[in-house]
């Protein structure tokens, strides 16, 4: 599904990623952990094509196609979804209108007709109930005045609606209380299947109790320094990253 080879990337001449290698197969859930400033969010942005991040070396392959040069919307059309750490507000644009536009733009790019509104409505109802979202929420302006939990729930709602093949969740757990965390994690689990993949970026192991990863990778200073299974995340939670620093140097 996703293959990243020796990826180097910089922002305003400052190198951030220094040779990332990562391979995610269909149906797998991967988690990325790492201390602040290690390059986790940069990786999420580079995968989704943010143009402030310049790839200086290496490649990103999505479904066996190199996507280094694709625009963010082209990657989205191909099936890449990013759940933002800090979702932006768009005043006056309702959640419903936004998701409708997003879905129809993707369909348009594939030469498909717009989704009939009855089908859209049905899908919205189904996915909203999955994330315990009520209909008032859907008529509010996108992220405007949303609590931290509502914003993240809205991100996962959009993911559920768009049914991406690769979902990158950038610190989706930050700012969530335990109840909201359960709902959001449950939403992710229900959407994941053998045909799609999930990349979870997090600081804390706690999210991984609910979204159990097949693989865990530790990023430090722009490189993957350690990979393992879910136990690696637990170890990090217990003893921190220091031992890896020594290991690495």
């Amino acid at each position: 599904m996703l293959e990243i080879n020796n990826l180097h990337c910089q922002i305003e001449d400052k190198p951030i990623l220094k040779g990332i290698n990562l391979k995610i197969n269909k149906g797998e859930i991967h988690a990325i952990m790492g201390p602040n400033g290690s390059g986790k969010s940069t990786l999420a942005n580079v995968i989704s094509g943010h143009e402030d991040y310049e790839i200086t070396k290496g490649n990103i392959y999505f479904k066996d196609q190199e996507i280094n040069e694709l625009s963010p919307e082209e990657r989205a059309h191909a099936g890449v979804f990013l759940s933002f750490q800090y979702p932006v507000e768009i005043p006056g644009v309702t959640v419903t209108n936004f998701i409708k536009t997003a879905i129809n733009e993707s369909r348009k790019s594939k030469g498909q007709e717009e989704m009939p509104s009855s089908e859209m409505l049905k899908k919205i109802r189904e996915k909203a109930s999955l994330l315990e979202i009520d209909s008032n929420f859907l008529s509010r302006s996108l992220n405007q005045g949303f609590s931290g939990g509502e914003k993240k729930r809205n991100e996962i709602f959009q993911m559920a609606m768009m049914e991406p093949e690769l979902a990158v969740l950038d610190e989706t757990d930050s700012g969530l209380d335990i109840d909201a965390l359960k709902i959001v994690a449950n939403g992710v689990i229900k959407c994941s299947n053998e045909n799609n993949s999930v990349l979870v970026i997090t600081h804390y192991q706690r999210l991984l109790d609910y979204i159990v990863p097949d693989f865990v990778h530790i990023i430090m200073d722009g490189k993957v320094v350690k990979s393992g299974d879910k136990d690696l995340a637990k170890k990090i939670e217990d003893i921190g990253y220091d031992w890896l620093k020594k290991d690495n140097s």
């Binding site: 094509g49 059309h77 006056g92 209108n97 997003a102």
Partner: protein, 481 residues
């Protein structure tokens, strides 16, 4: 009668012109220049009664002593008023046989706006085999209106057929000498619309539909008079989302609204005149005076979507004369490239318990300048007057400007005035967010701008709101590099 234009001009200059002379001329366009004789000639051409001619002449003599206003935040080369022809019959568009002969750019825009093929043909002057159909539609409208006693016709027809109404009301809201452009308009207005809704009648349709079918070309100096008699209601829509590539550079319209006791007038405008090209060349100068007067318990609501013109100078206003009357102003002004807009409203509170609401949304892109200028005036007698104003500006890029000039004059202590203003910029993070969801940048901007303008778009009649949304999208095309 083989007068050449030069000879005509000479005669006018030497004032050896005789009243009635113009009836002999075949030409439908007057020579350039403006003087008393031209004013008389316009009046004569339209077969107007003497009181109307005198009215025009009075306006003209005032205009001569006035100066073009310079207080606006606009920079343009002042028009040479002696270089303009003040009368021309509605220009005949070339008769084309099929849409294939129409400018493809224009067709592209029509399609984007979702204008029906039939209407496209009509708007671009293609001979239509379905003409009968549109005529019959218009006739049906006319019958319905007549049944209710509603008068809706050109102002020229109204001067002929309803002189008592015109004479009583014309110039009562916007006096002849009100301002430079209003005086000019009063002297030389060529045509426009007249509407009268009798007592207690609720106009059963948006007067837009009818208007759109009938009003192909708009004049340079339009004059509109809408009178809503006691307890009546009318929703009036002016303009068209279809692009108007008018060759007239200067437009100076006057619109007067009169809402008698308990009446309501909703006046919506969509203006999309040629804004000039990407380099700021050409484009229409639009200097408009729009004002309404509210009597007791009446309401006037202005809604405007302004996307066109190179230079816009326009302040639809309400004089809240009657007690408990209400004035509203909802506006979206979009400027792109080198466009300049200085627009807003005046709410003059005179009666007791009068209320006004101002919602103004300005979107600036390219190198354009967009100003809101508004006056809220509470006179000493206006007890318990209330006003709420909200002026929001949205900027795109670093080369455009948004300006807000709110004037508030309060002379009665019981007044409650609220003013809110925001300025924001379309953020790169917003664009990236949309991009990541598969929405390309142009569509993202349209989405954000539509969201920003929603409160005003919602005030438009339904079918027009949809077109106006698309129009916003088109107006901002290419505004991001």
């Amino acid at each position: 009668m083989a007068y050449t234009e030069d000879e005509l001009k000479k005669e006018l200059e030497t004032k050896e012109y005789e009243y009635g002379f113009y009836t002999d001329i075949d030409s439908e366009t007057f020579p350039v220049g403006l003087n008393e004789d031209v004013v008389k000639a316009i009046s004569k051409k339209k077969n107007e009664p003497k009181w109307m001619t005198d009215w025009r002449l009075d306006a003209f003599s005032s205009w001569k002593s006035m100066n073009e206003p310079e207080w606006s935040n606009l920079h343009y080369k002042k028009p040479n008023f002696q270089d303009i022809s003040y009368y021309s019959a509605p220009k005949k568009k070339p008769n084309l046989n099929s849409l294939d002969e129409v400018d493809p750019e224009l067709l592209k825009t029509f399609n984007k706006l979702g204008i029906s093929l039939k209407e496209q043909k009509k708007l671009s002057g293609v001979a239509m085999d379905v003409v009968i159909d549109s005529v019959s539609v218009a006739t049906t409208f006319k019958d319905t209106l007549e049944e209710k006693g509603i008068i809706f016709c050109s102002i020229s027809d109204a001067i002929q057929n309803h002189p008592e109404l015109v004479r009583k009301h014309l110039g009562t809201v916007v006096p002849k000498k009100d301002n430079y452009y209003a005086a000019l308009n009063s002297a030389v207005f060529s045509d426009g619309s007249f509407c009268y809704i009798p007592k207690g009648v609720r106009c059963p349709m948006e007067l837009s539909t009818y208007f759109r079918i009938n009003q192909a070309g708009t004049g340079q100096f339009e004059r509109t008079l809408v009178i809503a008699d006691e307890s009546s209601y009318v929703s009036y829509l002016e303009g068209c989302t279809a692009p108007s590539r008018d060759e007239n550079q200067l437009h100076a319209a006057v619109v007067e609204l009169i809402a008698l006791d308990d009446a309501e007038i909703k006046y919506s405008t969509v203006q999309n005149w040629f804004p000039g090209d990407k380099n700021g060349k050409g484009g229409v100068f639009n200097f408009v005076t729009k004002r309404g007067i509210c009597h007791n318990r009446s309401k006037i609501s202005w809604t405007q979507v302004e996307t066109g013109s190179a230079v816009t100078w326009k302040y639809p206003s309400c004089i809240l004369k009657g007690n408990n009357s209400i004035g509203e102003f909802y506006s979206i002004a979009v400027t792109n490239n080198f466009q300049q807009a200085d627009t807003g409203t005046k709410m003059i509170h005179v009666g007791k318990n009068t209320k006004s609401t101002i919602i103004s949304k300005g979107v600036s892109a390219g190198r354009s300048q967009n100003s809101y200028r508004g006056l809220v005036q509470i006179s000493p007698l206006a007890k318990n007057a209330r006003n709420f104003s909200q002026c929001d500006s949205l900027l795109m890029g670093n080369d455009c400007g948004a300006h807000t000039f709110p004037y508030i004059e309060v002379q009665n202590k019981t007044a409650q005035i609220e003013h809110e203003a925001t300025t924001s910029k379309i953020g790169e993070d917003q664009i990236f967010y949309c991009n990541q969801r598969g929405i390309d940048t142009e569509k993202a901007i349209a989405l954000i701008v539509n969201g920003f303008s929603k409160e005003v778009l919602n005030k438009l009649p339904m079918e027009f709101a949809v077109e106006a949304q698309k129009l916003l999208e088109i107006s901002l095309e290419g505004s991001v590099g």
